[in-house]
């Protein structure tokens, strides 16, 4: 479903992704963790070309994304993206946030799009907020709207960039619950997060990134119980001692 072949990226002289190779199967849920500045967010932002790469190839569903000829609009409409800061459109109601791209990009009829949007809001547990504005919602509710907005495009993949990092502790669970449900239903997803409970519960694989490289990748139990690499051990000990 998603394949990286020797992907390299620089921000100026800063080498942020170094020879990344990975292959994610349809229906797989992958968690990427690692210290801040390790390139996790950059990695998933390259998948829908929010960030260009300088070397290597990225394929989504056998279409090479880093090629001039690729129809980025079409590609992006197949990839849901959830941001750390939600990035909901503050001047539009919740419902409008969800239907905008289906109507404008996928050219779906408004009625159908709204029906679908209401179903999705129901699914993320906030059917009664359709006519509210983002400023009237809590952080957890905002992030669930953002997930609904992603799902409204009926994507093949969902990408999550630290979806719970901007949330108050009591709201993290309501967002994770929605994500767990998605994973269980078989959505292909890549989640950048430090929520190790989530990783253990639903991830098929966990990647550990440091200094622009994927240092280690393994099934969650093996990853957490027997980390192979020193850097992984150091990182996990820091996270776990605080939990």
């Amino acid at each position: 479903m998603i394949r990286f072949n020797d992907v390299n990226k620089w921000f100026g002289a800063n080498h942020v992704l170094k020879d990344i190779n990975l292959h994610i199967q349809p229906g797989e849920a992958v968690v990427i963790c690692g210290p801040s500045g390790s390139g996790k967010s950059t990695l998933i932002r390259c998948i829908n070309q929010l960030e260009p790469i300088q070397k290597g190839e990225i394929f989504v569903d056998n279409i090479q994304v880093n090629k001039r000829a690729t129809n980025l609009t079409r590609l992006r409409s197949q990839i849901g993206f959830v941001f750390q800061q939600f990035n909901l459109y503050p001047h539009l109601s919740v419902l409008e946030n969800v239907v905008l791209s289906p109507i404008k990009v996928k050219k779906i009829a408004r009625r159908e799009a709204e029906e679908n949007a209401r179903e999705l809001l129901e699914r993320v547990g906030i059917p009664d907020k359709a006519d509210d504005y983002p400023s009237q919602l809590s952080g957890g509710q905002c992030q669930r709207v953002a997930i609904a907005r992603g799902l409204a495009m009926n994507p093949k993949v969902m990408l999550f960039d630290e979806p719970t990092s901007a949330l108050d502790p009591e709201m993290i669970k309501e967002v994770l619950d929605v994500m767990v449900e998605l994973a269980v239903e078989g959505m292909t997803m890549i989640v950048v997060t430090h929520e190790m409970g989530f990783a253990r519960e639903v991830a098929h694989r966990v990647f550990f990134m440091d200094e622009g490289q994927i240092v280690e990748s393994n099934a969650p139990d093996a990853f957490f119980d027997h980390p192979a690499h020193e850097r992984t051990k150091a990182f996990l000990s820091k996270i776990i001692t605080h939990n």
């Binding site: 409409s77 800061q85 990035n87 459109y89 791209s101 996928k106 495009m153």
Partner: protein, 220 residues
């Protein structure tokens, strides 16, 4: 004597209203045209391609660095040298439009840049093209920031339109000049001119204040 002058001034009132109408007309036309020009140039100002941003910057710098009086002389007296002869009214309207457009483009560009980067990123990630992003996401949010200073700019435009009297357009300021030659009471004549400007500008100043308050309230 004073009473006599006052009476003649009252008799001249229709002339003042005619002048006021010209002022409203010339500033109204350049206000609309300048807004359109300013929005287009303001959007171009934020485009980092084809040198658009630089060209628009140079335009704004020209307008900021050259006095409006000189600018209007350039349009009215120098363009005929290259074969473009304009009547005072269109010359004044064009000069004011170019003038307002430059300042409005700065206001619009600042408004667009005030929209958080994440908004464009989200819109990009969800497949909206550059035009759709501007139309549905960026501009509606920028508009709130743009509106109060924009209305303030309209006030400046109306007041600065008084300068077009130098090229012979009979706006309300020029009516004042002509009248003061018959009625040598400067305070009285230009007091009236001032009041007429104030009457059209004040509601706009007030509107700008209201909008500013509303925007800062929304931001909370």
């Amino acid at each position: 004597m004073y009473a006599f002058y006052f009476k003649s001034l009252i008799h001249s009132l229709p002339l003042f209203f005619k002048g006021l109408w010209i002022t409203i007309l010339v500033s109204g036309i350049s206000l609309v045209a300048g807004t359109v020009l300013g929005i287009i140039c303001g959007i171009f100002r934020t485009v980092k391609r084809w040198g658009l941003s630089r060209i628009m910057g140079a335009y704004a710098d020209y307008m900021r660095g050259v006095p409006f009086l000189v600018h209007i002389f350039i349009i009215y007296f120098i363009l005929p040298e290259v074969g473009i002869q304009l009547e005072p009214f269109p010359a004044a309207a064009i000069a004011l439009t170019i003038y307002a457009g430059a300042y409005i483009s700065e206001i619009v560009a600042a408004g667009i840049l005030s929209v958080p980067r994440g908004q464009r990123e989200a819109a990009t990630a969800y497949g909206l093209n550059a035009f759709q992003q501007m139309r549905h996401i960026v501009f509606p949010q920028a508009f709130k920031v743009i509106l109060p200073p924009l209305v303030g700019e309209y006030v400046l435009l109306i007041k600065d339109s008084s300068i077009v009297s130098v090229i012979g357009l009979t706006d309300v300021t020029r009516v004042g000049w002509l009248t003061v030659q018959r009625i040598p009471e400067g305070i009285m004549v230009f007091g009236l001119v001032g009041i007429l400007y104030f009457v059209i500008c004040y509601p706009l100043i007030h509107l700008s204040h209201i909008l500013e308050k509303k925007v800062s309230y929304d931001a909370q």
